[in-house]
Each structure stands twice: as C-alpha cells, then as structure tokens.
Symmetry: C2
Subunit: 384 residues, 2 copies
C-alpha cells in the first residue's frame, strides 16, 4: 500500500485540480486506494483514461525527493503545517463547476502555511490602473504593519502591487500559482517569485514542472480565497478573473471587500457591481480592511466624526444671533437683533456669551464674526 503522502503527490500529477467527482472518490476511498485504482483503470472510463495516460511514467517518491532537494515541500492534511481553513473547501462549495480540497500543497519558502489563518487575500485586475496599484500597495503595507500575511497570485497589476506593498515592510507574503512552484509565470515576475521563495512562500496544488492553464487559474483562485480570512477586490473590470476569486470568497462565507474607484473607470466596474449588489463591503484602505477581518473588538475603526466646533454646541438662541453677525464688516447690536429677529437686550446678552467663546469680536464700529467662528463648514455663511 502506498503511503498517503506519496499517493497524494501522485494524485496532484494525475488528476486536474478541483474536480468534485475526484474529491468524493478521495473521501470514499482514501488517497492510496484512489491512486491504486486509477493506476489500474478501475474507475469509470472518463477519469481513468486521463489518469492512465499520465500514470505510465510518474514516480511520486522520486518527485517528492527531487522536490525536497530543491527546497520544495509537500504539505498534506494531517501535517502540522496543513492550513485547516482549506478544509472548508470540502463542504460542497462549488464555483464554475469546481470544488474540493486540494490533495496537498507544494510549497517553496519559509512562511509556514499554518500561519496563514490571519492572512488576507488582495486580488484584482492584471491590467490595473496606477490608482489601483497604489491602493493595493497601500493595503499590502497596512496588512504587513499588522503582521497579517498577504495572499495573492503572481500576476501583473494588483497581485504584484499587493505583494510589493507587503514585502517593502518585510511582511509575510504568499503567492499562489496555477503552475508548478518552480516555474516563473509570468516570466517577468521571476525575481518577485524568487523573493517570495526566500522570504515568503510560493504555493501550488500542481506539482513542480506543471504549466499554467486557464482552468488551473480558476482552481487556484479557490485556494487564494480559502487560505485567507477575507478577500479584498481592488480593481476588476466586468469580466476580470478576480471576480472568480470573489465568488469563491462568497461561497466560503468569508468577508468580501471591494475598493471603490471612479465610476468612469472600467477597472472599477466589476468592484462597484459587487458592492452595489451587497456581496462586497466597501473598504477605502487598510484600516477598513483590518476592521472587517479583525477579531472581536480588534481594530474597531473610529468613525470619521465631524470635528466639533464651538458653535455646534450653542443653544438655538445663540446660534440665531451668531448667524446674524456679519463676517467682515461690523454691525450694531440693533442691526444684529433685527436680522436675528430677537429683541436687542437678548441679542446683547447672547453676543456677550459668544464673545467669551471668541465666536464674535467687538470692534469700534460694532460686532463681527470672531476667529473661532471663521472655520467654515461646507455650507455658505450668510451674505448679510
């Protein structure tokens, strides 16, 4: 009987990820027996032909040895390093016909997968705008400052910006790939991935050497969503692949967050759609994100409160008099009283109170607005 780990390594090479059918066979048979049956074509034809075609020349023990020699480990359920949050994928969550836990994860880099419980996924368009990249970088940095790992892909645009934001502050950063962890895809990100291998982690459910394929990206997205405790969608056009990660996040009932942008930017359209529908919460930066994913009481953000101004605390009568005092030229008590519609005695008494608060000034020609009242709100002051 093959060892569970070896069988799982073999399965990563034999079967395309995220097949619900395979996941249920795995659950019923266990990895060693599933692997044995696949090798001997016992499973229904559709599955076994694929697998048999590949099974001929694989050698999972050697695969594991060679990987280990190159600093690549294979983490499986039951390992101390196994990120248990991935088990949520085993509860029937399905997106675009895909579902199921990975057989295991191939990992390169010092960041341990069991440390990702507090991680946040930051995803978005490859063809991001400068605005989107700036925001993603800021969120990556803010997460690093809070010692939260950033999880993303390795694509151009938002992915790399989020990573760079985290890495600039030496925060833990994890790139999840749709190909083997030994491959640089896109090639332009070879250095970025190398940096992750040295200081963060590069993760994939596909074994070393595997090429990226469209369906593997969709399967990969479920890992990004499932590893993290929430997903931030920074920019995404209407049919961006990042929306698939958003769908996984929603399917997993993890918080989904969206960064708004200009309504004229196509790159924000997909995000606005998800916020509008109520599926995503609007976040404007790292503080908002930390509040959403933060534990009870942690990072409760202070609401942007209107800065208190002395005149806001005045009784109505005094407000009325204050409103009647001209901004520049001074006015007599009688003139102020007339404008305010209050008797001259009451007006004078109110003016004296206002004077104590420096809300009005007394000058030789009468009364005018004081220093403290000139910090104007966003509504016009009377022109009187």
């Amino acid at each position: 009987v093959t060892d569970d780990r070896v069988a799982r390594a073999a399965l990563t090479r034999l079967v395309e990820p995220a097949s619900g059918r395979v996941a249920s066979l795995l659950e019923r048979l266990g990895a060693p027996e599933l692997y044995r049956q696949l090798r001997h074509e016992r499973i229904d034809r559709g599955l076994s032909t694929d697998a048999a075609g590949r099974a001929v020349d694989i050698d999972p023990e050697r695969d594991l040895e060679r990987a280990a020699a190159r600093g690549i480990r294979f983490v499986v359920p039951g390992d101390a390093e196994w990120p248990e949050q991935l088990d949520d994928l085993g509860h029937g969550v399905e997106v675009s016909g895909m579902q199921g836990r990975p057989f295991g994860l191939w990992v390169r880099g010092p960041v341990r997968l069991d440390s990702l419980r507090r991680s946040v996924a930051v995803v978005g368009s490859r063809s991001a705008t400068t605005y989107g990249e700036d925001v993603a970088r800021g969120i990556g940095a803010g997460l690093a400052r809070d010692d939260r790992p950033v999880v993303s892909g390795a694509a151009f645009g938002i992915d790399q910006a989020a990573h760079r934001g985290a890495l600039a502050l030496r925060g833990p950063s994890v790139a999840v790939l749709a190909c083997g962890v030994d491959r640089a895809y896109p090639a332009a990100h070879r250095d970025l991935l190398e940096h992750h291998a040295q200081h963060g982690a590069v993760v994939s459910e596909l074994p070393p050497g595997c090429a990226p394929m469209r369906m593997r990206f969709l399967a990969r997205n479920r890992l990004i969503a499932a590893l993290s405790c929430g997903t931030v969608l920074v920019e995404a056009a209407t049919r961006s692949g990042a929306l698939n990660t958003a769908a996984w996040t929603e399917g997993l009932s993890r918080p989904l967050m969206g960064v708004p942008g200009s309504v004229t930017s196509a790159q924000s359209q997909g995000v606005h759609h998800w916020i509008r529908s109520g599926a995503a919460m609007l976040v404007t930066g790292a503080p908002d994100v930390l509040e959403v994913v933060g534990g009870s009481g942690e990072h409760l953000r202070e609401e942007p409160r209107e800065p208190a101004r002395p005149q806001d605390r005045l009784p109505r009568r005094h407000q009325q008099v204050l409103d009647a005092v001209p901004v520049h030229r001074a006015a007599s008590v009688e003139s102020v009283a007339r404008t305010a519609g209050i008797g001259p005695d009451d007006t004078l008494s109110a003016l004296r109170t206002l004077l104590r608060h420096r809300l009005v000034e007394q000058v030789p020609t009468g009364w005018r607005l004081g220093e403290a009242a000139r910090r104007v709100p966003d509504e016009p002051l009377p022109s009187t």
Copy 2:
C-alpha cells in the same frame, strides 16, 4: 380671524423654520390661532419674544400681494399644488434638533410642486472636483431624459452641476433656497436662478427678502430630501453640509444613494462612509439611480453579464485540450495530448470539435489556438 393662508404667510416671517415646538403648536392650534397668540405674546416667553419683536411691523396680506405681483406664489397644505410628500415631515422625523412641515412654500417659476413626486435630489459638496461635477451633470441629464425633475440647492459644485445637466436637456429643475426666492445666493448664480424662475422653479419656506443663515440651510436640506423620492450624494467630504441632506433622507426612509470615487479623494470620503455603513446604496450613474427610484419593474437594469465566449460552453474534456494548445507556435497532437494529460485519440477527437468552433487551427506544423479563442479573458493563457 385671519385666513389660514395669510396666517401661514405671517408665520414664515415670524418664526425660524423647522422648530419642533412651533410645529406641535401649529398642529394643536391651527395657523390663524397660533398667529393670533404670537402677536399677543400668549405663548411661552422664549418663543414670543422673538416673534413679538418681529410681529410689530409685518403685514402678511401685503406680503402676499407684493409677492404675487412679482410672480411669487405661496403654496400651503390643502392647495392643489401642495406636494403631499412633504407631509412625511410631520411624523416626528428629527435631524440636528430640527423637525416639522413648513408653514408653506414660496415659489417662483412654472414647474408645479405637485409634479415633484418623481423628482430626485442630487446634492454634494460646494468644493466639488471636476470628476464630481461631471458625474452630477450626467445624473442630472439622465433624470431629465427620464422626465424626472432634479431637486437641489443653488450652491457651487454639485448643486449647480446637477441643475445644468438637467437644464441642458430642458428637464424640469428645482432650486430650494435657504433665503427668499427673490434673492440670488450665491450672487454668482443669479443667472442660474433666473433660468430656474423662467423654466423650472425656485422654492423656499422663507418669505421674500430673507437672508440665508446657517440654520436655514439645515432646515432647507429637509425640504430637498422630503420633496424628492430619493437623494443622490455625489461628493461630500467628511463634514459636508450635504451629509445633513443625507441624514434627512435616511430619517424619511427614502432611498439614499452615493456615488463612489477615488479613495484618495477627500471629496468622496463622506460618501464612502455612508455606503460603507450601509446607509447609502452605491450608484454609478443615472441608470443605477433610475433603477433604485423606479417604480415596480420600471428601469430594472440589466446586470453587466460576462459576454459569453464559445469556450465557456465546452465540456470539461474539450476545455482541457483547448488549454493545452499553444497560442502562437503550433504543436503536434502528441504534444497537446501530453500537456492535457489525455490519450492521443481522445485529444484528436476533441481537437476536431474545437476546429469546428474555430477555437483551434490546423497548420502544416500542427495545431494552434484559433481566432475565436484569442479573445482572452483577464487571466493569462498558458505559456506552453
């Protein structure tokens, strides 16, 4: 006994708007009796001193006559033109200590107030950005196209942009002022207000001649919110006066909508806050607004759907083969089969199906991606 209309006209000159105490006295006593008691200082001191100070030299009959001569009418509850939606202000809704229906409305311009049931308020910062003004103008135009009146103030920034958007399409537009309808405030908007008086309406609960005051702006905001069937907040910094209109809209349980913008723009901060808290719905333009305020089934917006691509409808097996076909250089059936992990016969049969859909092409050196497959999504295609 003074006529109800005359008494109400007098009250607009005697008492500052939106006082809950006055509103309940009005309800209990009726306008003629309240006016009589105010003139004779029968009401508790605080109120009557103000009123008595003013009551000396007012003449409501003459006020009404002079107003009429200048094309200004006074609309009171019970009139055919009375906008009944304002009565919602009588149900105890209170914001910043203000509450209550207006005594009546002074109106200049051909648009009738009873035609405002479908109107939408568009409000925001005076110090708007070009972005905000563009969006406000677009929403104003979109509302005009749908024959919905635009209601706003007459301030710089969002107010004027929304009006101009509507007026450009000869849509009905209503400016609600915090001063008499015969005054131009701000002075720079004299022409805009004149245009409203000719083609739309200028409205105020304050009688002709009255000056704008800070508290009158707050009272005015409740009219903007209450006249309309929903309010759009286009841009608002954290302590913008427009947020007061938003609070009135919320208090009246009318739909509140917010336009998102760059998270780095101070002018969008207040809006983002309201969307984030769930109080405002995110809208990206007139179509969204019309959907929110639209009657049952009216303006149901079509969701931005992912454009269907032929490869999205393929069975999994064919997808797998398609994913294994290189983009530029051609590959042999055996090479594609190896990459896809599927037997050569099955691969060839799948390639033939894909060929019929022009998803692959056959060239002398083998198979490569076809025209129909090259409309790539926002995820990278395999580099193989």
